[in-house]
Each structure stands twice: as structure tokens, then as C-alpha cells.
């Protein structure tokens, strides 16, 4: 009898939380942290890195946009490891761009950020955010960070900007990626790229 009452209380609190979330306009999100799956024919794996240590949000999701071949479902949710790595396997050979990376502000706030990188025609340093993959393989889309570019005051909010970063290196990012691909055939390509980068050092 006592256990039934406890269960009812837990259920009640759970329902209150769900109702609060659904009526407050809160965005319910799901962070994809899974390992890579086996490659399918004519596909690529794209990977990159995002440093959220100075960002106003915790990096928890992101999307690549498929530009070519054309599709009705161009947005692909990336997988990540919560240490900065993001990647996605089994994308059709084609052209992709990083649509946005984002996540919640954290704490008690239900606010979130969706960060878009600048246009590469005016900011060529972000060229790696655009990927033209002409054949199956693994492709690096760059490492980036968001930082406070102008400190906010009493009556103003902080402003933020993004920039490509050289730390971690592609080699270090690949070592993170290896943990996600090690049980698949993708790993041969990952290890080959690691060997190539070590050789060129």
C-alpha cells in the first residue's frame, strides 16, 4: 500500500514536469552520442570539433545541411561526444555545410542557442564549413570556437563571435573519432588518416 502511494507521488511529479515543459514553450532536445554504424555504399563520414568552453551555451546538438544531391530532408543531426567532437556517418556523397551548432544555456533556463557560422564569401577562414565530397571517404569540416567578443555591461548583453581554431589539431580530433568508429569499417579510414597526419608532422 505504502509503495503504491510512493509510486503515485513519483508519477504525479513526473507528470507535472512534463506538463511544465510542454506549456512553457521549452525545446525538448535529444543529444546524439552514439557510436558510428557500419558504412553504406557510396557514403561519407564528416567530422569536426566545436569548443564551447567560452560559448554562452553547452554544445549538445548540431545539423549539417545537404546541398547536393538535392533532397526534401536536407538537415542531418550530427552525433557528438560532449568533448567537442561532432561527426556523422553514412551521408550520401555530395556537398554539405554546417547549418548550425547549438545547445542549452544551462542552469534553470530553458533558453538555447543555435550558432550559425559566417558566410564564407566574406569570411574565407570558415571555408572548411563547406564540404564538397566527390567520393566516399572521411572528411574534416574544421575546428571552431565561440567566444565573447564584447563584454556586456549593466544595460547591455555580451556579444559573441566564432573563429576557427588550430587546437585541438585534426590528429587529436581523429583520436576522439576513433573511439566512435573503432568497431566499424570506418575505422580503417580513420586510422589511415591518423597515420598520414603523423607522417607529415
Amino acid at each position: 500500500m505504502l509503495e503504491n502511494i510512493r509510486f503515485a507521488r513519483v508519477l504525479k511529479y513526473f507528470l507535472v514536469v512534463i506538463l511544465t515543459l510542454s506549456t512553457s514553450g521549452c525545446l525538448l532536445y535529444w543529444t546524439k552520442t552514439g557510436d558510428a554504424e557500419e558504412p553504406v555504399d557510396n557514403s561519407i563520414l564528416a567530422y569536426g570539433y566545436f569548443d564551447d568552453s567560452e560559448a554562452p551555451f553547452n554544445f549538445r546538438w548540431g545539423q549539417l545541411r545537404q546541398m547536393l544531391p538535392r533532397t526534401d530532408e536536407p538537415f542531418h543531426d550530427v552525433k557528438l561526444n560532449k568533448k567537442g567532437l561532432f561527426y556523422l556517418e553514412n551521408l550520401p556523397v555530395g556537398s554539405y555545410t554546417i547549418e548550425s551548432l547549438g545547445g542549452p544555456v544551462g542552469g534553470l533556463s530553458s533558453a538555447y542557442w543555435r550558432w550559425h557560422f559566417p558566410d564564407t564569401s566574406t569570411h574565407p577562414e570558415f571555408k572548411l564549413t563547406e564540404l564538397r565530397a566527390g567520393k566516399p571517404g572521411i572528411y574534416f569540416m574544421g575546428a571552431y570556437k565561440v567566444y565573447e567578443s564584447k563584454k556586456g555591461g549593466l544595460f547591455s548583453v555580451s556579444e559573441y563571435a566564432s573563429a576557427p581554431v588550430s587546437k585541438p589539431s585534426e590528429l587529436e580530433i581523429l583520436q576522439q573519432l576513433h573511439e566512435k568508429t573503432q568497431n566499424t569499417k570506418w575505422d580503417r579510414l580513420v586510422m589511415a588518416r591518423i597515420a598520414e597526419l603523423k607522417k607529415s608532422k
Partner: protein, 212 residues
């Protein structure tokens, strides 16, 4: 239904859609659209600018991702002109609210300009995604004409031929070239006279850079 009615309904639908979106985005400021009748033009105070926007390669329907929207099927043809004021590289929609002018790509636009101020064009933007659902988002691409194009309004002109502005892009929507094509004057004149059932002649003018 006649072809004329079809065209009129389509234009009306497009205009309504543009207004609806602009109201959502622009703080309830009504956007301007291409005119459908010369009777709406006060000739003593206004002149009609005749032009066309082309994007090469064309934006196809599947290039604009639509989620949780109703009646936005023609959004892929909308282009929001930035006229008369250069707000720079910003993609903040509010920046355009005073001069928001919605036109359709690949077809002539007919928009009014107050005399005697010169008409200036700084490019424009278009949608590549619109999600109206929970956590929804909008993606747009800006084609900015740095320093702008300018037309001085000659006295006595009622309608002015601007020509076709062709934006060439890559698959990532990076702007690769901007060309002003003024070789279709005769055809544009015929289309203008037929559309408005008028004998009014389009005035050719020199297009210059808006800023030094």
C-alpha cells in the same frame, strides 16, 4: 479559370504570404510588393521601377526546406529587395522593415519610388529554410550589393527600366557574381504595356554606383 486569373491569384497568394512572413519577422510593418495596377500610383509623387531578379542556378522548390508551415509552397521564389538604405551585411530582418520589398524571382517586378529621391538597390535576401514548429527556425541568404546601384529619377519619366539583376551563386549560396543585364528593354516594355494595358513608355536611365 483563365490564365490571367491564375496569374492574378498566384500573385495575390505570393503577396499575402510575403506580408504574413514580414509581419511575423518585421515587427508588423507591411512590406511593399510589386504593384498590380497603375491606378495605385500617384504619378505626381511616384515613379514605377521595372526590373527583374534572377538567381543562377535557380532556386528550386526543394532547395527551401519547409516544416510546419501552411501555404508557403511558393516561398522559394520570393526575394526581399533591400532598397534605398544600405544596412550592410546584417541578416537581421528588422533592419529591412522600412524598405522591405517582396518580389518574385524570374519575373518582372514593378515597384514604386518616391520622386525626386534616387532609387537605390543594395541586393536582398531569400529563404532557404522555414520551420514554424516548436524550436522553429528560419534560414536566409543575403546577396549584398556592396556600395549599391543607383538610378536618378528623370523629370517627366513615369516608369523606368532598370533591367535584370543576375546573382550567380554556388551550391552553398556563396555569391560569385552580380551582373546587370539591360538587353531585354524591348521585351520588358511589351510585358509592361500588356500587363497594365497601357501605352506608357519605359525610360532608359544610366545605373551608377550608389556610394563612393
Amino acid at each position: 479559370m483563365t490564365e490571367g486569373n491564375n496569374l492574378m491569384n498566384q500573385n495575390l497568394r505570393n503577396a499575402v504570404m510575403g506580408i504574413f512572413l514580414a509581419l511575423m519577422l518585421g515587427g508588423c510593418v507591411m512590406p511593399r510588393t510589386s504593384i498590380d495596377s497603375l491606378s495605385a500610383v500617384d504619378k505626381s509623387k511616384e515613379v514605377v521601377i521595372v526590373g527583374r531578379i534572377e538567381i543562377d542556378p535557380k532556386i528550386q522548390k526543394e532547395d527551401v526546406s519547409l516544416k510546419n508551415t501552411i501555404g508557403a509552397g511558393d516561398l522559394y521564389r520570393q526575394f526581399v529587395l533591400r532598397v534605398n538604405e544600405d544596412v550592410g551585411e546584417t541578416t537581421n530582418y528588422m533592419a529591412d522593415r522600412e524598405n522591405m520589398t517582396v518580389v518574385q524571382t524570374e519575373e518582372d517586378f514593378y515597384i514604386t519610388q518616391k520622386r525626386p529621391e534616387p532609387f537605390k538597390l543594395y541586393g536582398g535576401w531569400f529563404y532557404t529554410a522555414f520551420n514554424g514548429g516548436n524550436g522553429g527556425s528560419i534560414s536566409t541568404v543575403l546577396f549584398h550589393i556592396v556600395k549599391g546601384m543607383k538610378i536618378e529619377i528623370p523629370k517627366g519619366a513615369d516608369a523606368i527600366y532598370l533591367g535584370t539583376i543576375r546573382f550567380t551563386r554556388d551550391e552553398f549560396y556563396n555569391l560569385k557574381a552580380i551582373n546587370l543585364i539591360q538587353t531585354d528593354y524591348e521585351a520588358a516594355q511589351k510585358r509592361f504595356q500588356k500587363k497594365f494595358n497601357t501605352k506608357m513608355v519605359l525610360t532608359k536611365v544610366r545605373v551608377t554606383q550608389a556610394a563612393n
